[in-house]
Symmetry: C2
Subunit: 120 residues, 2 copies
DNA sequence: ACAACTGTATTATTGTAGTGATACAGTAAT
DNA sequence: ATTACTGTATCACTACAATAATACAGTTGT
């Protein structure tokens, strides 16, 4: 994982997305310990406070949880990890197709562009 | 055009994108007069100041230009309108594919998802 | 028990996007 | 010329994200 954030965009959502990607890639499996607030803060060049907030947001979604003093862990619930992956793919794909359709592109045209840009 | 902005995200980029989409759709053609700062402000429920800033950003990119007292217009340069469309498609498509590849999806898998979600 | 790590909380401060109000200046139609 | 529209500029204000510094509390390994 790179942890090179775009400092010109809100950081919390970016940190959340990075974590979700790692879970969706199965780099982080259910129950795994994840990097500490301070550790990520150092790598991502942000304040521990910012990472804390990001983690708390993901906790609210049931994706991760904390044990005071021990650390943060990926939810043991197997379904959630799968959902994170499915949701990520679904939302990104739907958003992409919607954007292209707004321009008036047909389904075939969209498929053509995707094929074209995959070979690069 | 809807002008229903997401108030929880930065507004200027959203206004810029809406304009670019209208140009990419050919709803606005080179030389066309576009809605005034105050008009858009009213429709989008934002401050004229915010729209002004957005327009100035697009002006810097050469997409539109202003005539003091008269209004804002789409650049007469034909190439720019075409570029806006091409750039929009290219950047969105590349971003989408990159996101999917990060998850480990193959080209075929990506194409399959796109086809699947187009039929909905 | 101790040291070194964890999460958590608080406070003050900074930077910035957007608001709201107002004013001035140029254009265009009547 | 007047009126009603444009763009442009400024100022004080609000809201919020993120920083920076610090402190406290719980866990873990030695």
């Amino acid at each position: 994982m790179d942890w090179e954030l775009d400092k010109k965009r809100p950081l919390c959502p970016q940190i959340c997305e990075q974590l979700c990607i790692m879970i969706a890639r199965d780099d982080l499996k259910p129950g795994d310990k994840i990097m500490s607030v301070r550790e990520v803060a150092l790598l991502a060049q942000v304040t521990p406070n910012t990472v804390q907030k990001s983690y708390e947001q993901l906790e609210q979604q049931g994706v991760i949880y904390s044990r005071r003093g021990a650390g943060w862990f990926v939810s043991e619930n197997q379904e959630i990890a799968q959902d994170v992956r499915k949701q990520y793919i679904r939302s990104k794909t739907e958003e992409y197709i919607r954007n292209m359709q707004i321009l008036g592109l047909t389904g075939d045209e969209i498929e053509t562009y995707v094929k074209e840009f995959i070979n690069e």
